[in-house]
Symmetry: C2
Subunit: 346 residues, 2 copies
């Protein structure tokens, strides 16, 4: 049965590809946060024993990918595609990790939307029978991102109230047509987002730049699938943070498709405690990647969450585009995840 | 009929997705080259009338995409995915072009392999029925790449004999399950490559860095499909240039799968004349993208080429990775393209 586009943007995956495993590796600050116990691996060293922060980030990608593959009871050679990306110029975390894995590499760039970009693409490839197993990865590291996008770490710049804290972490998800283990979840629909830009230019307020894209994708998904927010136990965005979270609630209200405050959450607000001085919350590809793979997938597997929308959001600017006066385009890709636990069987 | 993996890396596309149209836009130097007449649009202004070279590159992406969609007798709204990338940090040429197109965006990063990465992924998505029509784009611009990767343009640095010249150009390909026009070619197989790194560290010798990856992918494709170089009218690599071209011939000879000098070509050697002072040849995502879409697709459509391998190659380093002493990993993705003209009907 072929994949089927329903409506304008959403694609139904008739084979319901399985998430056979997920793994998350995070840094010390994330380990001290409220979800600390959920992660597979918490390093107490931002450098992970490496010479540079870039090598540390790569190490986390490798650790997450290998752990996820192992948890799926697969060998590395069972995987057809190593898909993913990160925030660094030329996605060096993913591509150098791919060199170590020696697997066909699908390099992605969706900024902080990379985890769901990978799940959308990987889901369709598995659904179409083009791959039996794929691994999707995404990562970020506070120290690599900060010095690339903002200021040298040693400068110790002050952060504005709307600024977010880049998560040090990596997540990996194994998608399978015929999983060797009991699946953690299944992907039923994917909805790849359009690039939306309402003119925000403040690189310290990514949440506001990304919320309109999140609204655009959510509205398309609801319309295409004839569902409303009430049809999902959880709708989770990637890293809108406090500003973007509140703005998304407002925008969806204006569109007469209000999200329920109880079932709408943002990974950027889940991963840190307010006491951790992260201002508007967490951000980075690794934010949604580690929260999904460490914290959310087990809840789907147990049936505590029956059906959810995972939608990571990305801000697609570069330092060059910002210096040239461009505003910040946003994008949001969504997947609908279902628990493998059948209704009434809990 | 579902996509089928044959062998270790190659995937057979049973639906044979059609290339319904292609378009190529290039700069003045490329227009003066031996393929100048093949391109849809040759600008005589490196800035394309824009304020910055980055805006000029984006303009070429948009022009190529819109032209290809028009040539495929489609409207922009008929396209499901706008897929692609470029060499700039955070692929701003592709993502800001996607903002203008208002289409679901699949951001890719495969360095100069981006055109074939897009064709592989887009081919599988169309084959699986997950999209009716997609547009794949890739671009580069001498002035944006040079100042990002090497030196400020004003510095006027000397170029080594192994250095290549980044092509100013963009290419776009429309893939369709049911094309509205007579197809230019069909994709029968895709083979996504592994990241291969034999330790080359000279950023002025990309050809040598990428040739081992090209060898790896070609060998996998031949083994998986039980074919040899003699089964193809043409095998074309993306931008190995003279050094990489000669090295690939040598490596394939060593592997006892020699390429025929007559049927193996490299887009980097096709796009410029030796008199144009480009040293080892052309490079950049836009090199293979413009040669495929401007020059090669019409030859497939007419039946002058019956079956060919298009394999763009990428060097996956960043300035950071090079400064940190890393070698340059290469990757090569291949698609097998067939002419729509049946045998014996020419």
């Amino acid at each position: 049965m072929a994949g089927k586009r329903i409506g304008q943007q959403t694609i139904l995956l008739p084979m319901k590809p399985a998430i056979s495993a997920g793994a998350a590796c995070v840094g010390p600050k994330e380990g001290e946060g409220p979800l600390g116990d959920a992660f597979d691996w918490v390093t107490d060293d931002e450098l992970c024993g490496q010479q540079t922060f870039e090598l540390a980030e790569r190490q986390m990608v490798l650790e997450a990918a290998r752990t996820a593959i192992r948890k799926a009871s697969l060998r590395v050679s069972d995987i057809q595609f190593f898909m993913g990306g990160d925030l660094l110029n030329q996605i060096i975390s993913a591509s150098f990790a791919a060199r170590e894995m020696s697997l066909p590499f699908v390099g992605l760039y969706g900024a902080c939307s990379t985890m769901s970009e990978g799940l959308c693409l990987g889901g369709m490839l598995v659904d179409g029978g083009h791959a039996d197993h794929v691994v999707c990865v995404a990562s970020s590291h506070f120290c690599t991102a900060e010095r690339q996008y903002r200021f040298p770490l040693e400068y110790g710049n002050q952060r504005t109230p709307t600024a977010q804290w880049t998560v040090t972490g990596a997540g990996a998800t194994v998608l399978s047509l015929s999983p060797k283990t009991s699946p953690m979840a299944r992907i039923t629909h994917v909805c790849m987002g359009r690039v939306v830009d309402l003119g925000v230019t403040d690189a310290n307020n990514m949440g506001a730049a990304m919320a309109p894209a999140a609204t655009d994708t959510l509205l398309a998904l609801f319309e295409d699938t004839h569902t409303t927010p009430a049809d999902y136990d959880l709708i989770v965005t990637g890293d809108l943070g406090q500003v973007g979270h509140d703005l998304l609630l407002k925008l969806m209200q204006e569109q007469e498709m209000p999200l329920c405050a109880g079932t709408y959450q943002d990974c950027g607000l889940m991963i840190y405690d307010q006491k951790q001085d992260v201002h508007a919350g967490g951000s980075g590809c690794g934010c949604s990647a580690s929260v999904l793979n460490g914290y959310l997938l087990p809840k789907l597997q147990s049936g505590q969450i029956r059906r959810m929308i995972f939608m990571a959001t990305g801000a697609l600017m570069s330092t060059t585009s910002s210096q040239q006066g461009e505003s910040i385009p946003g994008v949001a890709h969504a997947v609908v995840l279902e628990s493998p636990v059948e209704k009434g069987r809990m």
